[in-house]
Symmetry: C2
Subunit: 252 residues, 2 copies
DNA sequence: CTAGTCCACTGGTCGGACCAGTCACAGTCG
DNA sequence: CGACTGTGACTGGTCCGACCAGTGGACTAG
């Protein structure tokens, strides 16, 4: 056989998807503008020469993407929504196409986010908040003797308090989502490594230092420790050269 | 008539949407995990007691959101996908639901993110990067005489350089998405205010200071100026008490 | 000119049908 | 005994035709 010509796996293109593409392309090209109306479903059936089921599946996808909105009985047909402004839309499309986020990028993102949240939380802390943090530390210590799952749970609770103190749920959500992505990526690479008791103890130690720094009002130090902790936790999963980039993030 | 009880407009809940909610809830609750399979379409028809068309519309939405993937002929049924970048994107967009997040939270998020990115960029900067930043400053100065749209475009280019220097496209993406949401929220509130020439000049001034601080290697100062700039830009749109919270974010 | 009625048409949902593809399994061949 | 193959029960993709509850514009009566 000849040299492998780098064939790519091919998956079938579904009809409804090509309808979605046509509509989105028309939108990007300017042939369709927000406020305008799409033809009715039955007319789209004729134009695209597919069944109504197919047209409807395409409309559901477009609706889910915030591109159009259908209302029963509206004689004008589905409405093109204004939310898809050019810049935002472009970014979203780009992000959808580029599926090449590296693990180090995700971890670096978390280091930055987590550090920033802790820094803000230090400024806005109250004695009640500090008490809550102490509680989660106690819970973490207790969880070490159970299993890694419980420890991970307690760790999440800690970050939850931080997010509440910093009065910004967006940070918390981003952290949670990215955290989930990181965990699945890691579990893809190695079966299960981080459940060693030593690592959990070290993590607890770090968290305690973070809380101490927060209590002392030293947000700078607290954030640094948090980033260091995150680095120690995940660095072994990324290639050496990228480890260096991550190390650069630790210091302020 | 009695005092206006602040009624909300109601829209009919479609059947397929409640299926989507049930699946997503099960996923969030942990009853469904990535790698697991959904029952086949015909079995879902029986479980949800709806027609196959409805089940399929729900599956199309879930598929569009990166939650599941259907393959023809697969006897195991639709597959639950691991959290992907596109799923992350969807999460963020959904998070941007107007009723869930306050404008001040969004702006606060941007202040933190932008500051962090600039701080990192300061550490990782090279002379070439600095030259690029200078270019965008020149472009901004030129754009002031055109219109606010052009200025906004040049501002975006600046942040794009920052993101590239900080070697983290996720930060850039988050910033862009949130930025888009903020802009639509503001344009909802007031018609068009920020296109005053004075504001643009002040913004340019701030950006210049940021670049100077980056060149000097003072990431701390650069980040602070960036946050200050963001605050000045958007603070007038949020209620006074929340302005105070945002002001607390400016200083490190 | 206004208020009320009416009806064509909309999207939402249903059930049944056919097709091409996939996969597990039983049976066959070496 | 193991590797191969053919088969058949499934899967999802698409289509069709039907019914319903709404919507909104036209039309009519006042």
């Amino acid at each position: 056989m000849a040299k492998n010509p780098q064939f790519q796996p091919v998956q079938p293109v579904r009809a409804y998807q090509r309808i979605v593409e046509q509509v989105e392309d028309a939108l990007a090209r300017g042939d369709l503008a927000p406020g305008q109306r799409l033809p009715s479903e039955r007319e789209l059936v004729a134009q695209f020469e597919v069944s109504r089921s197919t047209v409807r599946e395409a409309l559901r996808v477009l609706e889910s993407n915030g591109v159009v909105r259908s209302r029963p009985g509206d004689p004008n047909g589905p409405e093109i929504l204004p939310f898809s402004q050019s810049a935002l839309r472009k970014q979203m499309v780009r992000l959808a196409r580029v599926d090449e986020l590296t693990l180090s990028e995700l971890i670096g993102f978390r280091m930055i986010m987590d550090g920033a949240a802790i820094q803000v939380a230090t400024r806005l802390r109250t004695p009640e908040h500090l008490a809550e943090m102490e509680e989660t530390l106690v819970a973490m210590r207790a969880a070490i003797d159970v299993d890694f799952e419980a420890f991970s749970e307690a760790d999440l609770a800690f970050h939850d308090v931080i997010a509440r103190v910093s009065r910004n749920s967006l940070i918390q959500t981003c952290n949670d989502v990215v955290r989930g992505v990181v965990l699945t990526l890691i579990s893809d690479k190695v079966a299960h490594a981080p459940n060693s008791r030593a690592l959990m103890l070290e993590s607890l130690e770090h968290h305690t230092e973070v809380v101490d720094a927060i209590r002392a009002g030293n947000g700078h130090a607290a954030a640094r420790i948090a980033r260091q902790n995150m680095y120690d936790y995940y660095a072994s999963y990324v290639p050496a050269p990228e480890q260096e980039t991550l190390r650069a993030l630790i210091d302020d």
